[in-house]
Amino acid sequence: MELMEAPGMGQGTAEPRAQAPQIEIRNLRKVYPAAMGEVVALDDLSLTIEKGDIYGIIGMSGAGKSTLIRCLNRLDTPSDGQVFIDGRNILAMNHDELRQTRRRMAMIFQQFNLLMQKTVARNVRYPMEIAGIPKKKANERVTELLRLVGLEEKANAYPSQLSGGQRQRVAIARALASDPEMLLCDEATSALDPMTTQSILELLLNINHTLGITVVLITHEMAVIRQICNKVAILDGGKLAEKGTVDEVFRHTKSAAGKRLFGILPDQEDARPTEPALRIVFDGASVERPIISRMVKECGVEVNILSADMRQLNHKAYGQMLLALPEDDEDRKRMTDYLKALNLTVEEVYPE
């Protein structure tokens, strides 16, 4: 495959090459100079993100995920490796090409980063202003975008008059103003409360479905990945620990980093669970009913919940729960069978 083809002259109209994935990261490495030698933020990382994906990148803080997403639009310059956007190496681009490419890959941030001295409408208009789109056309698009994110009435408000969730909606409208093909989300929900997080995630999902925009999001919350991503990459100490479809990775977690994030392994090595547990995965397929309390009644077992990380989205349960494994083999079998009959993924996990 010829990857270093001549730069396309058209801006957003250049036909994306059939074979080239939307984003391809090859052997990415980022090293920061530090007092004691150097810090390796990303180490030989390769990932492929296809058009239409909602690709989640998750890791503990310091895993390098923020550096990774910032390398995608060259806010950070990698020390080594390549980033291909539609088959073109972003690291080999000159300033003009880079600017044009950046307009096709909008970004939203944890701290929203809105222009505080400009109204909501002016914020959303900014990307069109810098692209030289006529004012009248731009203003029509602003109204359209504010309707899409549900903030029509706030057009003349200033960001300081809005709540965090509303600010992120403005940021999303602004990001969409340049008609991007990709949306990079740098911990976009981390500064928001759970309720607001839900509404922003639903908005992102909606944007992906209706506009076909590829979404790359980084987060430290497994629930976020679980709810809207179709693919996930787990980072651990700058290295790729695991990647795949969310279903695959969630049901059959292989890496230690993944297990820690799912709560199967404790965050800290010295806080290992002292008892074996039963891990139940809720993937949204199961209907809303009190599963645990029915299991207790129908199987005649006592249940001790060790941990639970659950979210509701569209009246469906997502997440997982760890139950203390009953000592009695019969009880164990009854519980497992009962849960499996409900099409839940169940597995026994043991302390290391």
Binding site: N73, L75, L98, R99, Q100, T101, R102, R103, A106, M107, F109, Q111, N113, L114, L115, M116, Q117, K118, Y126, P127, E129, I130, A131, Y158, P159, S160, Q161, A171, R174, S178, L184
Partner: protein
């Protein structure tokens, strides 16, 4: 001295002070504003990183800033004569005023601009802005309230410099207070002229603060 004699003197002094302050401020900002922008954007992690240039510029600005105005007035005497035609008089004093004030203003502007949230600049970069677009559409507009506050302080400083203009034959309220007040022990003139200076400073400071509050949409 009666009020009928003092009145026109005070009026003339006020006009001259405003004249010197205004022109010196305008010209100083024409030089200091771009310089302040450069001091910020050529920093290591900013949009036009150029650490060597930034360091040299910083040293030059500090050098000019550290010379007291009255010494600057003396040093610049021949230059002022070459630039303004004469080194004496109210208009001529504007030149040394500018040379003293613009490095100070550059630092004031720099400090206003560095308060702009770096995340906002980064967002503008991620949207594909050119450096010029970032300066004129993001950096400066976001800093407007702080720049206005800085302007009020800078103009007040320039106003206080004008009081020393009498050393080069400049006019204004300061010269009036010194030459026709202090020097000939006419305390009536000294105090009235000084009070008028105080009033001018108050007007500038209060209107600066008002404008800053009125235009700031961040702290609401």
């Amino acid at each position: 001295m009666t009020w009928s004699q003092l009145g026109p003197l005070l009026w003339q002094g006020t006009v001259e002070t405003v004249y010197m302050t205004l022109w010196a401020s305008v010209v100083s900002y024409l030089l200091g504003l771009p310089l302040g922008v450069l001091l910020v954007i050529t920093r290591k992690n900013h949009i036009m990183p150029h650490p060597t240039f930034n360091a040299v510029l910083g040293v030059a600005v500090n050098f000019l800033r550290s010379i007291p105005f009255i010494i600057m007035l003396a040093i610049l005497f021949p230059v002022t004569r070459a630039v303004m035609g004469t080194a004496i008089g109210t208009t001529s004093v504007i030149f040394p005023l500018v040379i003293s004030a613009f490095p100070y203003i550059a630092r004031m502007v720099e400090s206003s601009l560095e308060d702009v949230d770096h995340g906002v600049i980064e967002a503008a970069v991620s949207m594909g802005s050119t450096n010029a677009q970032i300066v004129f559409k993001v950096l400066l507009p976001e800093a407007v309230p702080s720049l206005l506050n800085g302007a009020a302080i800078s103009i007040t400083t320039i106003l206080s410099y004008t009081a020393l203009a009498s050393a080069a034959g400049g006019g204004g309220l300061g010269a009036l207070a010194i030459v026709k007040g202090l020097n000939i022990r006419n305390f009536e003139v000294m105090y009235t002229a000084s009070l008028l200076l105080v009033a001018l400073v108050q007007i500038i400071t209060v209107s600066g603060t008002r404008m800053m509050r009125g235009l700031d949409h961040k702290r609401r």
